[in-house]
Amino acid sequence: MAHVPYQEALPLHEPKSFWTRYVWSQDHKVIAIQYTLTAVAVGLVALVMSWLMRLQIGFPGSFSFIDPSTYYQLVTMHGMIMVIYLLTAIFLGGFGNFLIPLMVGARDMVFPFVNMLSYWAYLLSVLVLMASFFVPGGPTGAGWTLYPPQAILPGTPGSDSGIVLMLVSLILFIVAATMGGLNYVTTVIQARTYGMTMMRLPLSVWGIFMATILALLAFPALFVGGVMMLFDRLLGSSFFMPAVVSMGKMLDYQGGSPVLFQHIFWFFGHPEVYIVALPAFGIVSDIISTHARKNIFGYRIMVWAIVSIGVLSFIVWAHHMYVSGMNPYFGFFFAITTLIIAVPTAIKVYNWVLTLWQGNIHMTVPMLFAVAFVSTFTIGGITGLFLGNVVIDLPLSDTYFVVAHFHMVMGVSPILVVFGGIYHWFPKITGRMLNDTLGQIHFWLTFLGTYAIYFPMHYLGFIGMPRRYYAYEGYQFIPESAQDLNVFITISALMVGAAQFIFLYNLAWSAFKGKPAGSNPWNATTLEWQTPDTPPSHGNWGDRLPIVYRWAYDYSVPGAEKDFIPQNQPPAGENPGGAATT
């Protein structure tokens, strides 16, 4: 915390013009909004793509403009956008940027200029990605995993220009994530205010902090993988390319290894799951605790669970590769590490549920999303125990069971937390409440709709229906009734997608017309609710940084006057925070 007195002494340079305040802004709160709005915009593109791909699966052949090329481009871009450009960006660039300085009691990120560059590099990566829709051949249709050789050979849509733009865009994204990530980590380590020890940090900060460390260690793997594939595609090197005969033509490649790419990709790809999940874990902990008016159950074990999940996430990657043709003996190691990671994950679920126990639960909209998350994450987690176990993965791998699993665990669940988080912090960001009725409608359509989509989808996987199929005619093992189920899923997906426009309308309307929120509408303890101004002004804290006296979860402390004690409230006489805060 050596940085803190220095930071406090710094004169505040209030930006003067519109441009430096809202566009070339170095204020973490503005950058957070820029990141979030960009991610939401690009997420809308991915949402429409999911509609189109579901229309093809539900009503094959009815939409003549969706030919196989288009279908595979939709599948690929939907996956890539959702995982990288929406979820990763919104959790780290959006929530991370907004919450870290406010929750640790800092004036801003430690490197505000680099923070600004991070956003503009991210925007550039998004623009390059969008540009791939307009090049000859269109965007890549290689699947979001971009497996070579297929990703760069004819027979795959976008193998001439689309794949090049995809890889360039990823490289730019990683540059952005690295600049942002170094900032988040340094800020958490160096810029915590007086009294804010690591074990007094809210779990949101812990989750984002650990996820950022994972991102800093995992993204370089994707970076080198992307550069190597660009070399293979543009310079004719053979990192991932063995000798192949493509469309009757012997190509010049030789000696490369397609499986090597899969190792590199998943060495990034598995931690990526937790880059998305850990911030969600943290945020949902804070939402549940605040709205249940009860301290989070087992704070210390929650922190250690986040840390150990983060560490373990680096030694489970090959569970994505049980059928890849790698040495089958690897399966023993990776099955064991994968199932071990279920233990800290399960403890987190127990602790969320136990936090509700003996609480005084307000069923607000953010709390609805948090409860829904616990339910959907439970399904996504337990289906992971099927796929982590090699001999169950052999029949289920590459079927709709996998699609249902990863959508439940890293699609639906984190997105529910994103919504919960926005409903929770919107009052602090704008000073106004989101409309409650619209929030309820949005919640119920989204929650029940996603169950309707993904729960039955597991059973298509049990049948063995392969994923990434444009159409299913000619396979006798698939009963005709499976098509009825696909129609049902498609209709549910259309409905859930439509519900998101209610949310967008709510955001836009409430930002200007919403009920004024006051500075702490949820009566929360953490520092971001204790700012002198709402929305917080430049520099967040006025002249003096807040001083922290207690942990983040002093709700319903026996003997206290109110049912919450803010972190910066000094102890009256003796320390009411009890043993856990000292």
């Binding site: 196989p68 090329s69 595979y72 297929q150 004819p154 027979g155 795959t156 063995p242 000798a243 192949v244 493509s246 009757g248 012997m250 397609p258 249940a292 008016r293 301290n295 159950f297 704070y299 043709g325 399966g331 099955a335 199932l339 279920a342 233990v343 399960a346 403890i347 679920v349 609480g359 005084n360 639960i361 307000h362 069923m363 829904a372 339910s375 399904i379 337990i382 125990l385 176990n389 090699v390 001999v391 169950i392 052999l394 029949p395 791998s397 590459d398 729960f455 039955p456 059973y459 049990f462 049948i463 990434r468 005619e473 000619g474 396979y475 093992f477 009734s481 979860y553 319903s556 009890g578």
Partner: protein, 466 residues
């Protein structure tokens, strides 16, 4: 409150759906019942957790709903409870993992005496190879792959000669005998997946992967590709026919060996001038760009080139005669055939050498166009080039129109015009497939470069499928 009811309904609905649902594991037809058992153990353990977590949460949400006169408890931790929960979870994990590892040990140890068959994936078709009488699969290299040798077998390997080759995506296997499938790919990743047998494994270019199973039921089982392999992925269908030992041997004996498929294609013996020309072409590196089998390359294939009418880059047409070939060698970029780049270096050859050369190309154009030969050549081409991966012979719809009864049929195109599938249309549809797509089909067919002779053979073949 409403959310608690919703959670309870979700639990009831899920359990009801599970028992009511007609969708469940495809019936097992292999030895891997232990995989299904492991799955069921996991299903029961995790299903229990799902029900308990959701019901517990619903109960807590109802019992501890907000009341103005109540305050929540203050309980930062409870070490004893946390220890118990960690312990119970660990026990649950062991119950699921241990049987999984035991079955995995079975899967990685191929039983002794398992017979071997190779499955080769290419976009978008399966081929199979049995080791033949000697029990040894001959070695293969991608550079040996050609129209004549679609498996890429080493022609000089004695073990390769008796290998039995199946080119039509249909594999027959004997019942109740353990089979190890070795997997190979020409081009991109594929995955050998028979839902009834449970196991699946990727075929990866550059390496040989494997899986094993024992088919336990007689019948026909779908073979699917389970690793995304490009726009035709969903059409990469195959079938496995499990039969009793007798029928299987009978079938196997009727399949051609590598030596037989090669012998069929060899046309006579070459004379000395032809031989000189061939050696010359090899020594000068001509064959790097010009194939002798009709397959495409950086330059036009020599197969059937002599006597052919070609369009040049400037739009004029030329009949490829001796003169044209001579000029093209001495001053290649003066008259380049349309569709090729002017990249060929000039060669200075003596007249003798030029004549030997022309004799060699002439030998590649010598044809024996009797009707039967054409049909069998067309059939062979269709199998080797993977046409049958997308075009069925039995009238079934596939990625492309079936060939059954296609010739002479009136078809509606995607732009609503109608055409008659005559020779001109079929040729155009092969050379430039996506210009005239039959309504209802996707434009996914890659263009093929065939010589006129090969086109005639293919069309002659389609005429016979009525």
């Amino acid at each position: 409150m409403v959310i608690a009811v919703a959670l309870i309904l979700i639990v009831i609905g899920s359990v009801w759906f599970h028992f009511w649902s007609p969708w469940w594991l495809t019936p097992l037809s292999s030895n891997w019942s232990l995989m299904d058992d492991t799955l069921m153990i996991t299903f029961v353990v995790t299903g229990f957790v799902f029900v308990v977590v959701n019901l517990f949460m619903a109960y807590a949400l109802i019992r501890f709903r907000y009341r103005a006169d109540r305050r929540a408890a203050y309980e930062p931790e409870n070490k004893k409870l946390e220890l118990w929960l960690t312990g119970l979870t660990t026990v649950g994990i062991v119950i699921m993992l241990a049987p999984g590892l035991i079955v995995l040990a079975d899967f990685v140890h191929v039983p002794e005496g398992a017979s071997v068959v190779e499955a080769v994936g290419k976009q978008w078709q399966w081929k199979f190879r049995f080791p033949g009488k000697d029990g040894i699969l001959g070695n293969t290299k991608p550079r040996f792959i050609s129209n004549q040798n679609p498996f890429g077998l080493n022609p000089d390997d004695p073990n390769a000669q008796d290998d039995v080759l199946i080119s039509n995506s249909e594999l027959h296997l004997p019942v109740d005998l353990p089979i190890q499938v070795l997997l190979r790919s020409y081009d991109v990743l594929h995955d050998f997946y028979v839902p009834h047998f449970r196991v699946k494994m990727d075929a990866v270019p550059g390496i040989i992967s494997s899986l094993w199973f024992t088919p336990t039921k007689i019948g026909r089982f779908d073979l699917a590709c389970a690793e995304y392999c490009g726009i035709g992925h969903h059409t990469m269908r195959g079938a496995v026919f499990v039969e009793d030992e007798g029928s299987f041997q009978n079938w196997l004996n009727n399949q051609p060996t590598f030596a037989q498929t090669i012998a069929k294609q060899t046309i006579g013996s070459e004379n000395s001038q032809v031989r000189q020309g061939r050696l010359l072409a090899e020594a000068k590196g001509c064959l790097g760009c010009h194939s002798v089998d009709g397959s495409p390359g950086a330059g036009p294939s020599w197969k059937g080139l002599l006597g052919k009418t070609e369009t040049l880059t400037d739009g004029t047409t030329v009949v490829v005669d001796e003169n044209y070939i001579k000029t093209s060698i001495l001053n290649p970029n003066a008259s380049v055939i349309k569709g090729y780049s002017p990249i060929m270096p000039a060669y200075q050859l003596t007249d003798d050498e030029l004549n030997a050369f022309i004799a060699f190309t002439a030998s590649l154009s010598a044809t024996n166009n009797t009707a039967d030969n054409l049909v069998s050549k067309g059939k062979q081409l269709a199998e080797q080039q993977g046409c049958l991966g997308c075009h069925s012979l039995d009238g079934n719809a596939s990625a492309g129109p079936t060939w059954k009864g296609l010739f002479g049929k009136t078809e509606t195109l995607a732009d609503n015009t109608t055409i008659i599938a005559d020779e001109a249309y079929l040729k155009e549809a092969i050379l430039n497939p996506n210009a005239t797509i039959v309504a209802g089909f996707a434009p996914i067919m890659p263009p093929y470069t065939f010589s006129d002779e090969e086109l005639n053979a293919l069309i002659a073949y389609t005429k016979t499928i009525q």
